[in-house]
């Protein structure tokens, strides 16, 4: 028991040390740290993120390390946020990314824009912002490459994202609570399509997923059973439009906001086939 505790403590220390190494101005020659290092936890994040802290907390924010680096007249603010897990880190990245720009293969995903770069890898979400106004892409890229190397761990996006059919897919992201605005669907992935959206929620077990299905039927009201996966239903909802929800083992999924429930059902069938 003692050795397990020691191992956990060592892991936590290792993790803390790693965050320090990641946010380091010396990673790129010619840059030096300006001012003290910043460190925040959930309790005091509001001091730094006044007005935006909840947007981090909802994704399981644990702590943040940051530095401001300068070179000549340029400065880059680097913030490395540690989230509860890699899925959460991907979640906050996807929620904050510029949807009009492509996602680059940096860690689990990243974007480098003229004055801003973000990426996520393992349970870390990294943000860089450059001043003054001009194209800082080379410097941002240099920092991102070095930082990405120093973060060990997962560099593949959550598996569930690959389950969504790619045709006419606009974006896919983690919804940290209340998928489709329904509290019953606690946390899951939603893919936005040119028309309609798909979702996948993982429950603990097939039994608990079945229980959620029953509650969903009650919540939505008039539903029509459909033969998809283990169980499914179609419905028309004022806000969710034509929808189809299915259960496959411990997974709940489906399509919503389509003109007709039948449209949702045919798309849901395609989604079912991609869930292992």
């Amino acid at each position: 028991m003692k050795s397990a505790k020691l191992a956990i403590t060592m892991l936590m220390l290792a993790s803390a040390a790693r965050a320090v190494e990641v946010a380091d101005c010396r990673l790129v020659p010619g840059w030096e740290q300006q001012g003290p290092r910043r460190e925040f936890v959930a309790d005091n994040l509001f001091e730094y993120m006044d007005g935006n802290a909840e947007g981090y907390l909802i994704y399981g924010f644990t702590r943040m390390e940051g530095v401001t680096c300068t070179s000549g007249g340029d400065s880059i603010i680097i913030d490395v946020s540690e989230m509860t897990d890699a899925d959460a880190a991907y979640g906050i990245f996807a929620a904050n990314r510029d949807p009009n720009q492509a996602v680059a293969p940096i860690g689990m995903g990243g974007q480098i824009l003229p004055r801003r770069a973000t990426f996520c890898k393992d349970k870390y979400y990294v943000e860089l912002a450059a001043n003054p106004e001009k194209d800082h892409t080379p410097a941002l890229k240099a920092f991102v490459e070095e930082m990405e190397k120093r973060i060990l761990g997962r560099s593949t996006p959550p598996d569930a994202l690959a389950w969504f059919p790619t045709e006419k897919l606009m974006s896919a992201r983690l919804i940290p609570e209340s998928v489709l605005g329904l509290r019953l669907l606690k946390r899951g992935y939603v893919a936005q399509y040119e028309s309609g959206k798909a979702f996948v929620v993982a429950e603990e077990s097939a039994e608990s997923a079945a229980a959620v299905m029953n509650k969903l039927r009650e919540r939505i009201g008039q539903t029509t059973p459909t033969k998809i996966a283990d169980e499914a239903f179609q419905a028309n909802d004022r806000y969710l439009g034509g929808l189809c929800v299915f259960r496959k083992g411990r997974y709940l999924g489906g399509f919503a906001n389509l003109p007709q429930p039948q449209d949702a059902a045919s798309l849901a069938t395609a989604l079912v086939g991609r869930i292992p």
Partner: protein, 390 residues
């Protein structure tokens, strides 16, 4: 700690996209009170309205803080049910939130009051922000444009006030506001300045009466007062699985907290965050039911539960320990360990304290000279920190 200014700049980056010729031709003065509020649609729920100070805007006492909402259907439904005030900000999800809010409220734009905020620290970038906000929200004006998160008068620069005046003249906003998490400090100065129509303030049942008095001062000066963090945002800091979670999120606490805020007639509307239909339905009850004695008890119990544990970091205890302990810092280290399971971090911070501080043991003092105005049991909590980390 004043480290947030650079962060504001950060938030502004990448968001201030070039203005796209959103020249507004809207004559807002003409529009001002001819909005659809005079013919509000019937709602299946009981709605309560108050007038937002000198703006004359009639708003439901429960509004909608859109910051963490993920699904637009919740916002759409709120608008359909008659909620008339919706709040977002340029910095939320790096602009993605404004985009979603704009799409959700498109059908209802003229029937609702819409506000957004800029984190910018200078005139030009603030005005650029507003143009971007209007484009993302899909509207040619907002009803209230706030300077975001200003906690001292130094941050409320004259050039930002000038930006708000320009935006008003151009018809891009109807009213100018400031949002603050330090109402007791900032409101008196804002009242003196007289440049703002609305103030968005942190206000909840955990706060002392100074905040209520400051709000009263704003209302007396004709400012519209909007309450945020009305459910004592700290609830969200408790992570799923934390043994505190079930106690902090007990049934009825959120509704009671919202009703507590609305009990103050100087708070004209509120912007609780809502992520799902159930929260929406629950919050709507705050307009239909009075604050009850039962809820008074629920909140008293909640406060009792929170108080001995949670340091608000108000700083009032600084310098009052006879042994020179940095009290709020040490309580924070304890929160790292107990609240977030970050024992190593708490210990690391504790051990970085100078020896003359880290070697002090509170149980050696005959009595404690530190008194927390909010009732945190300081001596017991510091002893706990020493026991854990020393």
């Amino acid at each position: 700690m004043k480290t947030n200014r650079s962060r504001r700049e950060f938030l502004a980056l990448g968001l201030a996209l070039p203005a796209t010729g959103l020249a507004s031709t809207t004559d807002l003065a003409r529009q001002s009170l001819q909005s659809a509020f005079q013919s509000l649609p019937a709602s299946p729920v009981n709605l309560a309205y108050r007038t937002l100070g000198k703006t004359g805007l009639k708003v439901t006492t429960v509004g909608f803080g859109c910051m963490i909402t993920s699904d637009a259907s919740v916002i759409e439904r709120a608008a359909d049910l008659g909620i008339s005030y919706f709040d977002t900000a340029r910095g939320y999800q790096h602009g993605n939130n404004e985009r979603m809010v704009g799409a959700a409220l498109k059908r209802k734009r003229k029937e609702i009051v819409l506000s957004t905020k800029t984190p910018s620290g200078n005139k030009q970038s603030a005005l650029n922000d507003l143009d971007t906000s209007l484009r993302e929200l899909g509207t040619d004006y907002v009803d209230i444009w706030y300077l975001h998160g200003k906690d001292s008068l130094d941050e409320v620069k004259d050039e930002l006030i000038e930006a708000q005046q320009i935006a008003k003249q151009q018809g891009k906003t109807r009213f100018a506001g400031v949002s603050t998490h330090s109402p007791q400090l900032l409101i008196p100065a804002l009242v003196k300045k007289g440049s703002f129509d609305v103030v968005l303030v942190t206000y909840n049942f955990t706060m002392d009466k100074e905040v209520g008095e400051a709000i009263g001062q704003a209302a007396k000066a004709g400012m519209g007062v909007v309450g945020m963090k009305v459910m004592a945002g700290g609830f969200r800091k408790v992570k799923p699985g934390d043994p505190l979670a079930s106690k902090l999120r007990r049934d009825g606490v959120m509704l009671a907290a919202l009703k507590w805020v609305l009990k103050n007639p100087n708070v004209y509307t509120t912007i609780p965050s809502m992520t799902d239909m159930d929260q929406l339905d629950e919050n709507l009850k705050a307009m239909a039911e009075p604050y009850s004695a039962v809820e008074e008890k629920i909140l008293a119990r909640q406060l009792e539960f929170i108080t001995p544990l949670y340091c608000r970091m108000c700083g009032k205890c600084e310098g009052t320990c006879a042994k020179g302990l940095p009290v709020s810092d040490m309580l924070r280290y304890l929160t790292y360990a107990e609240g977030y399971g970050q024992f190593a971090l708490g210990r690391e911070e504790f051990r970085a304290l100078p020896p003359e501080v880290s070697e002090v043991r509170c149980n050696q003092c005959p009595s404690c000279t530190v008194s927390c105005p909010f009732g945190v049991k300081v001596a017991a909590r510091l002893s706990r920190a020493q026991e854990l980390f020393a």
